[in-house]
């Protein structure tokens, strides 16, 4: 026996679900049901149509994955009459294998997903291509502004899209009419109907401004008509006020580009010359006096001594009192320092600050700088991976470090890490060999060597990390005593 079932089929899932549930609980296989839509259900049907079978005894309640309900909600809006049978077939198969939807290359799954995709596309196009026209209120009447639109969707989506317009155009009354139903909003209730509407005669003056915009934003030198029709298929054009311009825009595109090319550049108007003159005579901003730290910092802003500069955001110069007794030298700015333009403000800077605070050193009293003043890195997706500056770059950048030393004249210089040590001594030594003890330098200064705080952050083993942190703290205590 064949069951026949006719549905209104206007995008309402409940209608199908009630019938499908009854068939399934009676164990009716898909091939036994002839699903139809009312539109083609003419006199062929007999009196037993839409008859539902009795459920089998002791049926457990039906459960389907939520993903199926979601998918079915979209598929049911499709205008293809085969959608009811497809959904029932899937429902029937799901009862035996819950994993059906994950079999992404199964023919039924592919079909359902394709239908859902078309419905989604139609939904999206409706949100894009509905054009409201204002219906002015009668003279002397105050109230909410009123707008009406005529749209022709491919599928039964009006119900589905209506909330989008409600959420968006909340402060105005609107009515969208389509051959597949209509929707309206008056500030209090969203109403939808699935009765076909007739095309109204609508006009709106603002369309003329929109056409002006559409014509002017088009670049005739980049004609790509296929790309346009792919995204804005011709069947939508009849209801788009701007579409009437398309043929002439395409026809005149080449001529307008040729015209542009033919015209040679004309002589600039006087205001351009006045601007150029004003710029040439603009007062030069006063520079800090030469031979001071601020002057040196200013000069370093435009340093191009090595190639790192144009990759980094800015020069990160040293910072601190010009007569500091202690100068700390690190390796190079990192990601955060590069953005902020200040040394030791990132994660390593935080560890550095915490340790200073523990041993009672006031950061404000220190001059803090780096061996290399620009951030060297390798881009990796959304991050920047620190790269060690090479010896050549360190040597180039020593130009600045030497002058900082000469101007600040610190008694104690602390090298944090091997790069700083190399920059200060030009010697490549094992850090461990010179670490932790004051070293007298030729110019009467004292050099103290310790590790770079970022080294501590990179130690994977927690136990070793704790040990190294203690050693670093001990070094800093020694520095605190040496500085006193």
């Amino acid at each position: 026996m064949i069951y026949r079932y006719a549905l209104r089929g206007r995008g309402d899932l409940t209608e199908w679900r009630d019938a499908a549930r009854a068939y399934l609980s009676a164990g009716i296989p898909p091939e036994m049901i002839d699903w139809r839509s009312m539109d083609d259900a003419d006199g062929l049907f007999g009196f037993d149509d839409n008859r539902l079978p009795d459920p089998l005894p002791n049926q457990p309640p039906l459960h389907v994955p939520p993903a199926f309900i979601k998918l079915a909600g979209a598929v049911i809006c499709h205008s293809d009459p085969s959608r009811f049978a497809l959904l029932y077939r899937m429902l029937f198969r799901l009862a035996h294998d819950r994993r059906l939807l994950q079999m992404s290359s199964d023919a039924d799954v592919v079909m359902a997903q394709r239908m859902a995709k078309y419905v989604g596309r139609d939904y999206h196009k409706m949100t894009a291509f509905v054009r409201f026209k204002e219906m002015p209120l009668p003279e002397g009447v105050a109230g909410r502004r009123r707008f009406i639109s005529w749209f022709e969707p491919d599928h039964f989506i009006v119900d589905r899209v209506a909330p989008f317009f409600q959420h968006r155009f909340t402060d105005m009354d609107w009515l969208i009419m389509t051959p597949k139903g209509s929707a309206s909003w008056d500030g209090e209730r969203l109403r939808t109907s699935d009765d076909p509407a007739e095309k109204p005669d609508l006009r709106d003056e603002t369309d003329e401004l929109w056409r002006t915009y559409y014509a002017s934003i088009f670049n005739p030198a980049r004609l790509k008509v296929k790309m346009m029709t792919k995204e804005m298929p011709k069947r939508y054009w009849k209801n788009l006020p701007e579409a009437e311009l398309i043929p002439s825009l395409i026809a005149n595109a080449e001529a307008s580009v040729m015209e542009m090319a033919r015209k040679a550049a004309s002589e600039p108007l006087p205001f351009h010359h006045r601007l150029q003159e004003a710029a040439a005579n603009a007062p030069v901003p006063s520079k800090p006096p030469a031979g001071t730290l601020p002057a040196l910092k200013e000069e370093a802003r435009s340093c191009t001594r090595c190639d790192i500069y144009c990759r980094a955001t800015q020069t990160v110069f040293g910072e601190g009192p010009p007569d500091a007794k202690v100068m700390f030298v690190g390796e190079q700015p990192g990601d955060q320092e590069d953005l902020a333009g200040k040394p030791f403000v990132g994660p390593a800077g935080k560890l550095f600050n915490d340790t200073l605070a523990l041993v009672g050193i006031d950061r404000q009293s220190l001059y803090i700088t780096n061996a290399v003043k620009h951030f060297k890195y390798e881009p990796r997706g959304k991050r920047r991976i620190h790269q060690k500056p090479n010896l050549g770059e360190v040597r180039q950048c020593r130009w600045w470090l030497t002058q900082e030393l000469e101007l600040v004249k610190p008694k104690l210089v602390v090298a944090m890490g091997a790069t700083a040590l190399f920059a200060l001594t030009d010697m490549r030594q094992r850090l461990e060999d010179v670490r932790g003890e004051p070293i007298a330098m030729e110019d009467g200064r004292v050099l103290f060597v310790t590790v770079h705080p970022s080294y501590l952050l990179r130690i994977p083993d927690e136990g070793r990390k704790a040990e190294e942190l203690i050693r670093f703290r001990e070094d800093m205590s020694k520095i605190s005593r040496l500085a006193a």
Binding site: Q102, S105, A128, F132, E134, L209, I217, L249, T313, D338
Partner: protein, 410 residues
């Protein structure tokens, strides 16, 4: 005589069209149900129309004014150009945005401007427009503001409170190029402004102590644009700059804009058709870098001159240069390997990974997933399919190249 609103709209949108960005996506989801106002954003953007240049029209993209004190050679609005000049009042921009929005022409506003008087003066007017749209007119649609690198920090900060996206155009990939074509612009200022924006976004993303709620600051992030083909930079240089910008400033997008001849053009510039295919290849390469695990070096290594192949998409060009890595077994290969197969996109790879848990995939399965078999066949093995050294064929490249155009009889 004062030009009409319509005339000025024509001038100030014509002046804005060389900015490629029209995205209205990636911002926080919001609507007007609670506020009873106007506007919503969906997460993914909506393109309300397409012009015959194939570009989407999502936003009202206009300049506040096309008067400009700068003289950047590539720009239609440079001070030495004799294009018609005009300006909108802030009220007019607000009116146009709201009326266009109500008719569902647009998703929101993309406002840019020539620099008049001073950077701060210009920026202040732009911020005022965004502020009034939000606070006076209860507008919740999308707002993209172009920021001016030299503007004061407090103005940029205020802009970020009202706008969904902020952007600063770097325009050219090298500092030398900027120096040559945009003498008034300072590349280091541009980088610093982008850096400050990133810091601001990160700072605002931290939950505050009082409310634990994150403050909104330019929820759709920042973007930039590079002009392609105005200076001599090759694709490797351009993409290298993009990678640095993505890594350094967390940009959502770098737009590539094929240099397009402008009216009253300066003689230093090429007056040729815009290199649209090159632009397209750059976008493809940009995608490979961001979503497919390719390094810029890998993408641009296939040719000695650092240019991308115009005849082949960059993934296919890479695959042909690295045939030893193929064929890839669609039933066993990991995600990273699959992403490198020409013809497989991120969505398809996801579907393959899901489908192959249930059965061994054949070419038919791939076809149902929407894969072009012609493209993929030489590069994969599947159940019942071995490409038989197809990948070693010397004429493999020719199989993918565009067919030579046949000459027609006169």
């Amino acid at each position: 005589m004062k030009k009409s609103l319509k005339e000025r709209l024509a001038i100030l949108s014509d002046a804005a069209k060389y900015d490629a960005s029209c995205a209205s996506s990636g911002t926080s989801k919001r609507d007007s149900l609670g506020s009873g106002g106007l506007g919503s954003t969906e997460g993914s953007g909506i393109c309300h129309a397409y012009a015959p240049d194939g570009r989407c029209i999502s936003l009202l993209k206009i300049l506040l004014t096309n008067f400009c004190i700068y003289d950047c050679a590539y720009c239609i609005n440079r001070s030495s150009s004799n294009v018609e000049r005009a300006r909108f009042t802030p009220e007019e921009v607000i009116w146009l945005t709201l009326e266009f929005y109500r008719r569902n022409y647009i998703e929101g506003l993309f406002l840019s401007s020539g620099i008049i008087r001073s950077s701060d003066h210009t920026m202040e007017e732009m911020v005022r427009i965004a502020r009034e749209l939000r606070t006076v007119h209860n507008f919740r649609g999308y707002i993209h503001l172009k920021t001016i690198p030299e503007a004061s920090a407090h103005l940029i900060e205020e802009a970020g409170l009202y706008a969904d996206r902020l952007s600063i155009n770097i325009e050219l990939p090298t500092d030398a190029g900027i120096g040559k074509f945009a003498p008034e612009k300072r590349p280091d200022n541009i980088r610093q402004s982008m850096g400050n924006l990133r810091l601001k976004m990160e700072e605002m993303a931290e939950p505050t102590l009082q409310t634990k709620r994150r403050k909104k600051f330019a929820p759709a992030g920042q973007s930039t644009q590079m002009i392609v083909g105005a200076d001599g930079a090759n694709d490797a240089t351009i993409l290298g700059t993009s990678a640095r910008l993505y890594g350094s400033y967390g940009l959502k997008r770098v737009y590539y804009s094929a240099f397009s001849p402008i009216p009253d053009s300066s003689k230093n510039l090429p007056l040729i058709k815009p290199p649209l295919m090159r632009e397209h290849r750059l976008y493809q390469a940009d995608w490979l870098y961001r979503f497919y695990g390719f390094d810029i070096g890998e993408i641009t290594s296939t040719r000695a001159d650092g240019m991308l192949d115009l005849d082949l998409d960059p993934k296919l060009a890479w695959a042909l240069a690295h045939r030893e890595q193929f064929p890839v077994d669609v039933n066993r290969a990991d995600k990273e390997k699959l992403l490198r197969v020409p013809g497989l996109g991120t969505k398809t790879v996801k579907s393959i990974l899901s489908a192959r848990r249930f059965r061994r995939l054949r070419l038919d399965d791939l076809k149902r997933l929407g894969v072009s078999l012609r493209k993929i066949q030489p590069f994969v093995t599947a159940e019942g399919w071995m490409p038989h050294r197809l990948v070693d064929r010397p004429d493999l490249r020719a199989m993918f190249e565009p067919k030579p155009e046949q000459l027609s009889l006169l």
